[in-house]
């Protein structure tokens, strides 16, 4: 594929997959961080 | 034995008092059957081809509306706890409940589907396989409904509907196929036999699974 060429089919698949993969990484990370910080907050108070 | 006839009578009484339990599906069925010609086409040739599938799908969907009733009310008012405390055979009780639910939510629709044959221009030779396949196929669907109802028990969860579709797909295919066969002068008895086999095979398994699912809520 040429770099200058834009194929909407391919790039929509790429962007959707990229978006979902990012979600899959950051959702659990946020949850872990929330749970760990909850403990820290409890200890402070 | 007295115990189970008592439960049977009680269930019949409750369902007959609750008019929505049997009028609801009937109204749903009538509305959809009369909307199909308007929404699709009033051309008899088109409707004739679609009729087997349309009737079967409508029956399936109206069952989908009513399966939540099987256990959710008993859960809300605590009857299930009393059933569990009674120490009686729970699968027999569940069977009674499914049977009564079938009588009230499916049987009226099956009787009504006779008229839908005229409304959707299904040729008359399709009537017999339609009624037989519905009579044998809908109990299986009620069984799936009971399992889904027992799993989600009183809570509105997507699990019930999400389980219902894949499970009832084979039944739907066999049922509509039987009608199409008879319209093309092919012997449809093998489909009916398969539907019967599915029902007999699944009955104990699903009963066992539903009882297990019910007990999970009291653990």
């Amino acid at each position: 594929m040429d770099f200058g060429e834009f194929n909407i089919h391919i790039w929509s698949v790429v962007s959707i997959m990229g978006f979902i993969c990012l979600l899959l990484i950051f959702l659990p990370l946020a949850k872990i961080r929330k749970n760990e910080s909850k403990i820290k907050n409890n200890e402070k108070t | 034995m007295i115990y189970f006839t008592k439960i049977l009578k009680k269930e019949f009484l409750i369902y007959s008092r609750k008019s929505s339990s049997f009028i609801g599906p009937v109204v749903f069925f009538l509305i959809s059957i009369s909307l199909y010609p308007i929404g699709i086409s009033n051309d008899p040739d088109i409707l004739k081809n679609l009729a087997p599938g349309l009737i079967w799908i409508t029956v399936l969907l109206s069952t989908l509306i009513s399966f939540q009733n099987i256990f959710s009310e008993d859960y809300e008012d605590g009857s299930i706890e009393l059933l569990l405390a009674s120490g009686q055979n729970l699968s027999l009780i569940v069977l009674i409940k499914i049977f009564v639910n079938w009588v009230f939510s499916c049987l009226p629709i099956i009787i009504l589907s006779v008229f839908s044959v005229f409304l959707l221009y299904l040729p008359l030779e399709g009537l017999k396989p339609l009624i037989i396949s519905l009579l044998i196929g809908t109990p299986t669907i009620c069984l799936f409904g009971a399992l889904a109802g027992a799993l989600s028990l009183g809570k509105n969860s997507i699990t019930g509907p999400a389980l219902m579709l894949p499970l009832s797909l084979p039944v739907l295919i066999l049922g509509t196929q039987a009608i199409n066969y008879s319209l093309n002068d092919i012997n449809f008895s093998s489909n009916i036999l398969l539907l019967t086999a599915i029902l007999i095979f699944l009955l104990p398994i699903i009963l066992f699974a539903s009882v297990g699912a019910l007990k999970l809520h009291f653990n």
Partner: protein, 249 residues
């Protein structure tokens, strides 16, 4: 040998051990899998040759095939976990099912969507009701059912048991659905469009495809660990070991 396996099984069932080990493994697997996906994507998108028949659109294969294959593998793996949970009551199996189900659902969704987007320019249709597509849709529904089941039970253990039952129902039901749709299709009019044409694939295309499959599998391993950690951190919030661990960080 057996003793080692048994020890490993017991360790795998222990939340603190898993939490500690997964914390160490995650960064490496994450970096490795993401870079694999990036490399294979760039290779596949820009450097592999254009397909003679389909043109450039075929490059969706580098996303579609890994997603579909991993979505099925995830389902088989969680049904094994479901059996393990029901037979040996291993708590970690419940965590595994709950954590992998959303990942499986996500990849099934990607598979369905990329398949539709791929099908439109090549076969002229977004969707065909054949056995493979229908059973993938059903697979997606089962993932949704598993995810939806979590909230209906008060007790974690009951929820895990119910989810295991649904998973096993699915693993029995999926081939039945596939067979019956196949049968239905052969009896109905033969489908005008056939998707099964397997063309031989040249090695220049195959290598990035294999790389992308490997990358996605590793990515699932990586996110699976992440989700399991998140689930454990929710379940074990009030446990001593977790409090000690997170206050040390």
């Amino acid at each position: 040998m057996f003793q080692i396996l048994k020890n490993f099984y017991h360790k795998l069932g222990s939340y603190p051990w898993f939490y500690k080990i997964s914390g160490k493994v995650i960064p490496f697997v994450g970096v490795f899998s993401i870079s694999l996906i990036v490399i294979s994507s760039i290779w596949g998108l820009f450097f592999s040759p254009t397909d003679a028949v389909q043109g450039d659109v075929y490059r969706i294969i580098y996303f579609h095939v890994p997603a579909v294959s991993v979505s099925q593998v995830i389902y088989y793996s969680i049904s094994v976990a479901a059996a393990v949970f029901l037979i040996w009551r291993m708590k970690m199996a419940g965590v595994y099912i709950k954590s992998l189900a959303p990942i499986g659902a996500a990849f099934t969704f990607i598979g369905l969507l990329s398949g539709a987007i791929w099908g439109q320019p090549t076969w002229g249709t977004w969707w065909v009701w054949d056995a493979r597509l229908t059973s993938t849709l059903v697979l997606f529904l089962f993932y949704l059912a598993i995810i939806g089941m979590q909230s209906t039970f008060a007790s974690r253990k009951s929820a895990d048991t119910a989810v295991s039952i649904i998973t096993l129902i699915g693993v029995v039901n999926l081939p039945i659905v596939k067979k019956s749709v196949d049968w239905w299709n052969t009896l109905h009019q033969p489908a005008s469009i056939s998707i099964s044409g397997e063309s031989s694939i040249s090695s220049e295309m195959l290598i990035p495809l294999l790389l992308s499959i490997l990358g996605v599998y590793l990515f699932v391993f990586f996110t699976g660990l992440l989700f399991m950690r998140a689930e454990i951190s929710t379940r074990e919030q009030n446990k001593e070991w977790f409090k000690k661990l997170s206050s040390n960080n």
